[in-house]
Amino acid sequence: MRSHYRQAMEALVLSPEARERIGTKLRRPRRGMRFRPAAVAAAAVLVLALGATAAASGVALHELPAVVLQSLQPVRLSDTDQGITMTVQSATVENGVFTAYITLTDDEGRSRLEQGADFYDSYRISAPFGANLLTCGCEPLGYDAFSESYGYLITIKAKDGEGGAVDFSNKKFTFSARQLLVGQAKGQIVALRPHWSSVPLFPADTTRYILGGSGEGFKTYNGWTSGGEALVLQPGGWELRVTEGVSISAAGFVGEQFHLQVRYDGTGPDDHGQVKLLTPEGGEVPCPVSLSFRDEDGTKYDEHIYDISSEELSGCTLAGEFTIGGYLLDGDWKVTFALEN
């Protein structure tokens, strides 16, 4: 049994593509984790669309930095799928930095994009950067009601193997996406004042595999156990509905730190949000550690940890913004173009 199983398993190896991809990541390890795993990839993305009239005019529909606006070259190539048109309006390359202004429009006249559109983790950038790609980012420009389009500004920096700027001249670029996350709803709380006196001083805790986190104390959090797991509160220990689809699922003191656990009750592909603990004077209580995890049925939790005493907590309020719900729209959007040097 052992020899047969080993022989079969030895035939299973990482593909060369995966080996290269992972190896590249390890040679340039990221030093900070962001709070939205799915959005991490999306943040490096692209895309969108735009109405024919606006495209023909070549006028920027969204507010762009002046220096970018001045250097953009018109592209105006688009691709449509699922009634959504992605258009590369314009692009430029200067000093090794590639910038593209992209818009999305809903050709079916519905407002699928009004609340925003996220490329989730389905985008691809095919360009002459190769393994020398340093950073790429996607800045949402918001929804423009007049043109009914949602805009993005994409920037990509790359260097050659010797640290010099990459020559992008006469190279082709391809932006593509396979999914859009649309239809998300926004929620907000302004000055929620829970009954802090009912917060347990000795809450039940557990360990969970941590998907991501943030805060200056994230790496040094004293609750790390083993295998990527960390100490968190047992969900369900202290319930408080915050807004539609978002609840406080546990709270309490572990040692001298106050833990506040937020649960996303919906089924959105990328429910997320930000919670702030505010002092009676309106100042934000620093949150040195935030952790993100899921339970076995996929429910997502964020746990925020504060250095605050029960006395100080008594006068605090909660504020926050949340993005929940929505659905993934499968499609195939792809635009290839070249820039003149």
Binding site: M1, H4, R6, K25, R27, G227, E229, T299
Partner: protein
């Protein structure tokens, strides 16, 4: 941890992590994703690996990643054994398919025992289980394997 050390560990244990992840996921792309997440977690630098226990940590992290990160997808149960297509018909393929057809909670201890050669006590540490739980799972797994494998293959 330096990038050089990370690359060394990946070269040494990348395939082992992938195989263990595959024993959970039974899906090449998902196993690659798990493998990537495990090494990226190591790259974040908040873990100092104990010399000589690097592989055990990586496998423990792999088990947790598989159990907690992807379980909600609830899709592994119905996936075909795609990577097994590269393995010729014969006893080895039959054994692999038999192991991969076991319920999820039995596959990990079986893999760690038969492929990695860990003792049941070491498996308990890696999977965060009690020794008795590992012993029970191994016993049940062997019983299930015996039902589907040829008598010529000794367990």
């Amino acid at each position: 941890m330096t990038a050089v050390r990370l690359s060394e560990l990946f070269a040494l244990y990348g395939d082992d992590v992938y195989r263990f992840a595959y024993s959970f996921t039974r899906h090449a792309a998902d196993a690659e994703d798990v493998c990537q997440s495990v090494f990226c977690r190591l790259a974040e630098g908040r873990t100092e690996l104990e010399p000589g226990k690097e592989k055990a940590w990586l496998l423990a992290c792999t088990a947790n990643a598989c159990k907690n990160r992807f379980r909600f997808l609830k899709r592994w149960a119905s996936l075909p054994l795609e990577a097994a297509a590269d393995i010729p018909d014969g006893d080895s393929r039959a054994v692999l398919e038999a192991v991969l057809s076991l319920p999820e909670k039995y596959r990990a201890p079986v893999h760690l025992y038969y492929y990695e050669g860990y003792s049941q006590g070491e498996i308990a540490d890696i999977l965060g289980l009690r020794l008795t739980a590992v012993q029970t799972r191994m016993q049940r797994a062997r019983a299930m394997l015996k039902e589907v494998l040829s008598d010529e293959i000794t367990l």
